[in-house]
Amino acid sequence: MTLRTPSLVAFALATAVVAVAAGPARADTPQQPVATYAIVVGSNLGGPGQVELHYAEDDARRVGTVLTELGGYAPDQIDVIVHPTPTALRARLDELQRRIAGDLAAGRQSRVFFYYSGHARATAIDLGDAELPLTELRQRLFQTSATLTVVVLDACQSGAFSRVKGAQPAADFSFNSRQHLDASGVAVLASSSGSELSQESEVLKSSYFTHHFLVGLRGAGDANGDGQVTIDEAYQYAYHQTLIATAETAVGGQHVTFEADMKGHGDVALSYPRAATKTIELPAALEGQSLVEDKRSKTVVAETYKAKGTAVRIAVAPGDYQVIVRHGQTLSRCEVTAGGVVELDRCATEEVRETATKGPGGPRFVHPLRVEATGFLGGERDDAYTQNLTTFGYGGGGTSSGLQLAALQRIDPRVWVGAQLGWTTMPGWTHETDVGGEQKLAWGVTTVSGVARGEQKLSPTGRTAIYAQLAGGLGVGRAHFTGADAGNENSHTYIGPSLEAGAGLHFEDPVHPVLGFSIGYAYGYAPVVKDLIGNTHASGGSRLAVGLSYSF
């Protein structure tokens, strides 16, 4: 699967079911007395034949947080359950039913929010090796006496792709759910249709659907700007953002679906971002793909396409954030504190550094080429060849230095390949002869190598990357001997293999991101210089490498 960089991060689709039971729902702040209950379930565990998910349980925790911050749920009303057994989940649902029955008896309205993120099959949700039948889940959820019941299921069909949520590819989870949850006042929102699959995002560290669902709840989905996000607005936002994001993934675009039977009731608000203590406002003039990153935790809080003309407020926790806005080939980096407004004229602006798209011929990148000039310095290897020089009375050795020129092409967001030409000058050796002259050995190695480099940014939006690389090719060694007596000179050229391994850090210039600087460690090994008595010197050793690069 090809993942886009944070500025154009891809989204995968999850399956969601939103069921809304009939009952009063006001487009206003939560009204009391209404008893609110939320059961939020996350399970990374996979059943037989299913891989373990990475972020389902984290998503459940994030849903709980947003419900607390923006949904009008008190913390003690939210029951976050991770990797539960069916028995445990049944117990929670039974307890829910008893409490709602009590509310009804007391004349209180009640609202229920149920969220599940994890694996599922066409007939059951998978809780590790055990499962809970969907028919039973529906029965337990909709046989309560709640005034309003919201059910969000982030699960989908399993498929051939790794860490894809869900189960049997033939079944349409949402469709099946809709048919079997046919009850008065029930609305169904489904994340996928047919055999669409859902994915997690390594960049977002979340399910694509849950991420955008929550971003919508934080305010990005507030289309009419009334300060609250309704089920319909959340669906509209999640639908578009998820579809846009997943359109370029290997799994393909996924379509969130929503069906509701409110029986005359109006929109149901799921969150109230205006009521949040802190927001970040994306001003009306801002346009482009916008990403909000928590600077402390280096996590993406929100990512949305912001259209020009309407301000958008994203509810966030107190702290400092970086908002990255891409519009066309321009990337703006804006520092903003929770509660503030993004001020475009104070943002650092640069050309878009890179992006990847899928298409014929494979991925394409902005700035896919890089040329580098690297100087290095380090101790030369001591081996039988140099020890023999010592035996013959020569002194020298020490530090080698050299220059490498490399041309690299990016074939993957993290992988560069190319060619490298290097020149190494090894420390000379000299011998003061007993007749007053000096014998000298001057030598060096030229290498031509293929290079493969892996590069990983230390943070999704950062300018610093750690790299590791391997190079292999041919080395051409040259040795020039000058004797003490006039005319006693000779030169030899040798050819042999050349290998190099290295690792280090690569920094992009903050003002001109096409320029870069690297510093790292390299170990060279090029057994190419030979003497007449059978010794071979492997040029190389441990070296400090410092380089400059230019991307285009």
């Binding site: 013959f392 009375g393 007993d434 007053g436 001997f481 008595i533």
Partner: protein, 381 residues
């Protein structure tokens, strides 16, 4: 003349003192890297048997020497003395086939008798090292590298140096053969002549309280010579030895030749320093002044060797046909027949620098200067 005599004596002492510790920072072999080649022959090493060829080692520009022939040997007389030390480390790099046997032969004093023979094992460009304990006193060691067999034997980086005495702990010193005249001795038993004494003749080593003891002598110190012979300077031998003090035929040394007393000289006059050491046979000195108002002066030009003959009216073209002369300028005919004599810095006769005691300078350890002096035994033509 007294001034010149004193000058002469000081020069003798300086020359002798310069030979103390005849090593190059502890290195006692000349041309260890076989860098010196006189054509196809080694300069510092003597090929004693077979031949020696210049061959590549790790690089063709850094040569070694191959002992060519089934019986081949090279040797070098090193100037080391027991003042330098009695423990020697001998290093070399060897590439020796299995069907060749190479020996390191050690000849203390360089008289030709091998006191120690060590087999150098077969090796492929391996550095080898030998520790040798020598008996004190000694002056000069001849190292011989000898090959027997058809296999190849290439040697390089031969380097003998003074080692810490501790390195020789537990090693029995080489038993040296009796010393020849001019070699150091600690007792008469060590001398072939049976006489260990003192001499005023120059030696390349020091003797006495801070030196190596005495010197083997053939006469003097109470030992008289027979009829027709006098105690004088014997034939020059090795540069590691002192000038041998022994019985020589009376009046046998011609004008300009080295002498220790006037009795050796055909002229009957030996111009010596005040210490009575080495002098040159002359026609005048302070006890035998020139007649007819002629002055006694150096027969050879200033700046020439240490030991110069003194003649009457040098360079005045007064000598007639058949008279003794030290240079052509002495003769009225401008022609002086005789042999050119060259001297080492200590006054001994030499032909090449290898005949002279070694010196150490920026060019390493090598034979001292052998300088042309003037005509010996000349007569006006």
């Amino acid at each position: 003349m007294p001034t010149k005599i004193r000058y002469l004596s000081a020069f003798v002492l300086a020359a002798a003192a310069s030979q103390i510790g005849a090593t190059d920072c502890g290195q006692i072999t000349k041309d260890p890297g076989f860098d010196l080649w006189c054509g196809d022959s080694l300069c510092a090493w003597t090929v004693e048997r077979g031949s020696a060829a210049r061959v590549p080692t790790w690089n063709e520009g850094d040569p070694g020497v191959e002992l060519v022939g089934e019986d081949a040997a090279i040797a070098q007389l090193t100037p080391v003395t027991s003042s330098d030390g009695t423990c020697i480390e001998f290093d070399l790099i060897a590439n020796i086939d299995g069907n060749a046997q190479v020996k390191l032969n050690v000849d203390v004093g360089g008289d030709g008798s091998v006191e120690l023979a060590e087999v150098i094992p077969s090796a492929s460009w391996k550095p080898l090292s030998f520790i040798i304990a020598l008996p004190a006193p000694y002056s000069g060691v001849r190292f011989e590298l000898a090959k027997q067999g058809a296999g190849n034997a290439v040697l390089a980086q031969i380097n003998a140096k003074i080692a810490d005495e501790g390195a020789c702990a537990g090693i029995d010193p080489v038993v040296a053969s009796p010393q020849a005249n001019g070699e150091p001795c600690s007792g008469s038993a060590g001398c072939a002549s049976g006489q260990c004494g003192s001499t005023a003749l120059p030696t390349p080593f020091t003797t006495g309280l801070f030196g190596l003891g005495g010197v083997c002598i053939g006469c003097g110190d109470g030992v008289a010579c027979g009829s027709g012979a006098v105690c004088g300077i014997g034939p020059d031998s090795l540069p590691t030895r002192g000038l041998p003090q022994e019985c020589v035929a009376a009046a046998s040394v011609s004008l300009g030749g080295p002498c220790a007393s006037g009795a050796e000289c055909a002229t009957g006059i030996c111009f010596q320093g005040a210490d009575g050491g080495l002098g040159a046979c002359s026609t005048c000195d302070r006890d035998h002044m020139c007649g007819s108002g002629e002055a006694c002066g150096a027969g050879w030009a200033q700046g020439t060797p240490l030991v110069r003959p003194f003649v009457c009216s040098p360079g005045a073209h007064l000598r007639q046909f058949g008279e003794a002369c030290a240079s052509a300028e002495d003769c009225a005919s401008h022609a002086c027949d005789g042999a050119l004599r060259s001297e080492c810095s200590d006054g001994r006769t030499c032909v090449t620098a290898n005949d002279c005691p070694s010196v150490s300078d920026a060019n390493g350890l090598h034979g001292g200067p052998c300088t042309v002096g003037g005509i010996q035994g000349g007569t006006c033509h």
